[in-house]
């Protein structure tokens, strides 16, 4: 392999976790699709909140509460800027899953109502729809790719919404979200975009996309766990039924009833995850500082190196391996047919012998694995700090294991 430039290699110094060793050797972190390491600025932002600004938001009249509120709402503005939305369209949630559940609950589906999605969706973008309505998935081809073009064939008079991951957490392929949105809007249907994976790899502009809802999770975009985002067009959010009630979401509560706040506070009952939101704001600010176009180019380059390398290893089968390289991010899920070695054992050996942190299992995509008759897969996924040398190291390890 020829050496490749790593224009974001300087970011490695920002991630304390990358200094970690196992058995005396440095780790190679290739599991950011599961959860990403945190840069020091995120850690500092969270610690700073605890050290200097601990107070509740929106309700205190003292200095600390004002500081906490300013930091919290500043984070909301940062998220809005990241997505090209307005702060009033940003609801803080626990994660992507809660965002999807909030919408699925709030739309008030009637029995028989349908949601069109793909069989590839993460559980978080499948089960909430399955619980609230009838989930109608686009199928999967033999390679594990949904025939996205067939979406319109699945529309029925009962279709109420389309839900789609912008990037699949299993294939790493960028979905034709714009095409789905156009098809849905032509029929007046809203679309929810699951950006849990894509937000770390692609510039996202909700205005340009014209999606109605979008969700993401903090922990995958270099932020803390337990914080997520639901973006919604303001009129769409306003139509949603209340999700939870309690403190913070109500403007007035009297004997004769209560009046909820406007969006987004109406969906943020109870004391929010203040430190999480501030950490998320710091993470998205960090990513924007790197320039998301540069992040996209880096992810694309690593994905290309990874997939091309895997294709050259005997016994490797890549999920959606036929997808064009230019539509991928730095993620690949695969099996390595090696006698005596399950896919989970393979992931374990990668860690034990090579200190490579990768996922092994089903990646919350059981339907995909069932249909492809796969008893687990291994997933390698990158982020801004990963380098071509790390991809080459992982490929060399896999080649070595394949030769056992």
């Amino acid at each position: 392999m020829t050496p490749a430039p790593d224009p974001l290699a300087h970011t490695r110094a920002d991630f304390p976790l990358l200094e970690r060793t196992i058995d005396g050797r440095p780790i190679v972190y290739l599991d950011s699709a599961s959860t990403a390491p945190k840069p020091r600025c995120v850690i500092d932002a969270i610690v700073g909140m605890y050290n200097r600004h601990t107070a509740n938001v929106h309700r205190g009249v003292h200095v600390l509460s004002e500081e906490a509120t300013e930091a919290f709402e500043g984070a909301r503005a940062e998220v809005a800027s990241f997505l090209n939305a307005s702060p009033g369209e940003i609801v803080f949630t626990r994660n992507s899953t809660e965002g999807v559940n909030l919408v699925a609950h709030g739309l008030g589906f009637a029995p028989g109502d349908e949601v069109v999605l793909t069989a590839l969706e993460h559980h978080s973008n499948f089960l909430p729809w399955r619980m609230a309505a009838r989930a109608v998935p686009v199928g999967l081809d033999d390679d594990g790719m949904p025939p996205y073009d067939e979406v319109e064939r699945l529309f029925s008079p009962r279709t109420r919404l389309l839900a789609l991951a912008q990037v699949s957490n299993t294939t790493g392929v960028v979905a034709p979200v714009e095409q789905w949105i156009a098809a849905a809007h032509a029929r007046g249907l809203p679309v929810l975009v699951d950006a849990a994976q894509s937000a770390s790899h692609l510039p996202i502009d909700v205005r340009a996309l014209d999606c109605d809802f979008l969700v993401l999770s903090g922990h995958k975009v270099l932020g803390p766990s337990g914080i997520g985002v639901l973006y919604g067009k303001r009129e769409r959010l306003a139509q949603l039924a209340l999700y939870q009630t309690g403190g913070g979401m109500v403007r007035h509560h009297g004997d004769d009833g209560f009046e909820p706040h406007d969006v987004p506070q109406r969906f943020e009952a109870g004391t929010p995850n203040i430190e999480g939101a501030v950490g998320l704001g710091a993470a998205l600010s960090y990513l924007r500082g790197l320039d998301m176009d540069a992040v996209r180019a880096h992810s694309l380059a690593l994905g290309r190196r990874l997939v091309e390398g895997l294709q050259g290893i005997p016994g490797v089968r890549i999920i959606a391996g036929s997808a064009p390289l230019e539509r991928r991010i730095g993620l690949a899920t695969f099996t390595l047919e090696a006698a005596g070695l399950s896919q989970e054992s393979l992931a374990r050996v990668l860690c034990d012998r090579y200190q490579i942190i990768a996922s092994g299992g089903y990646h919350c995509a059981h339907i995909l694995h069932d249909r492809m008759k796969l008893a687990g897969t291994v997933r390698v996924s990158t982020h801004v700090f990963n380098t071509h040398a790390e991809i080459d190291f992982a490929l060399a390890a896999l080649r070595e294991i394949a030769a056992w």
């Binding site: 989970e344 050996v349 030769a403 056992w404």
Partner: protein, 431 residues
Amino acid sequence: MASDPYSARCAAALEGALAAVPFYRGWRALDPGPDRPAAERMAALPVLSRADLRAHVPDGFVRSGFSARDGFAAGEIEIVTTSGTTADRASVVWHQPWWDRSLREAARVHPALEAVYRGPHREAVLTSPMCTGNLCHVGELPVAERTLGNLLFLNQELDPARWDAASVRRMADELNGFQPDVIEADPAYLAVLARACIRSDTPLHQPACISLTYEFPSHLHLREIRRAFPGVPVVSSYGSTETGYVFTECEAGLLHQNTATCHVDIQPVRDSRSRGRLGRILVTTLGNPWFELLRFDVGDLARLHGGAPCRCGRTDGLTVEAIEGRARDLTFDTRGMAVTVRQLDDAIAAADGLLAYRIEQSGPRRYAVRYVAEDGAEEALAAALPPLVRDLYGPDAEVTARREPTLAPEQSGKFRLALTTFEWNVEELFA
């Protein structure tokens, strides 16, 4: 130099490993040579750790002339991952015929076990799914999918405290239906099942014998198990995924080494840190060319038997008085002497009404005991436990006791009875 067949096999294993197993190339210079006794040669070698396994499995431990690639392709061997927690986990090369032989040979120590394992038998396994590799990502498997030939795997829950009445009933029904000759169990798990069945008056199949393994058997566990299985021989077995079965309890209550598939060195803890014949268990595997281990540190401690020959008449291999628990679970008395899990268990497990406990040492004289009490025993235990802990650790021990509704297992599904919250180096204990 080898004077008997076992010594000759040990010497050959050592010679063969140093000469023909890749990992040990670096050890050859430390070998005093074939003219020295095997024990002296072994003692001159380093200790093999799980970190070594992690770095060099599979090819590092395969004897030359054997190809891991061919072994995998032929289905002779596979890679399995051990169930230990975090730093204790490792991938190992699993050779089923050698494992089966290890089990059969170890079983010969106890007549009840031998009677079961010498012929066709049915066996129920009750432990953490992490230990049996049948942790399922999609929920509990039906019994047909948990039955592999003569084996029934009863449990898929990582914490037996989560078993509800239906789970207990289901396991009891499956035992009654499967009619196993032997139950091989983690004592903590079997104790919970036994207690739940007694309390709910649920009948339990009585096997020909019970083999306790996977983790240290507390007196608490044994008490419950013996109540639910009166008259059934309960035998302690000791081994690991890496080493096969190593020690088995005989009818007289001592544990004897399985000389057919392993050699054991007990590396003594320094006299200044412990009392009497305590050491760590170092296992050398015999007869498994796919995974040759020399002086592998399993991470557990044993106390050598120092008295008269065992009443069972067995004289080959080592005899140990007890497995004393994991080295990393050692705590220290107020004078700095090591206290093993077994010593701790002997000191406090007999307390009336005690269902579970864990000691956490946070300083040279600071101990917290967390405990689960039977209904009605809470106050008595709150009064009884601190003096028992002081008796063990020293009159100047500062002891707090806190009642808990349950105590959770580690991520591996095993229950830790003792721990320190400060760092210490286990290697400093050994000469």
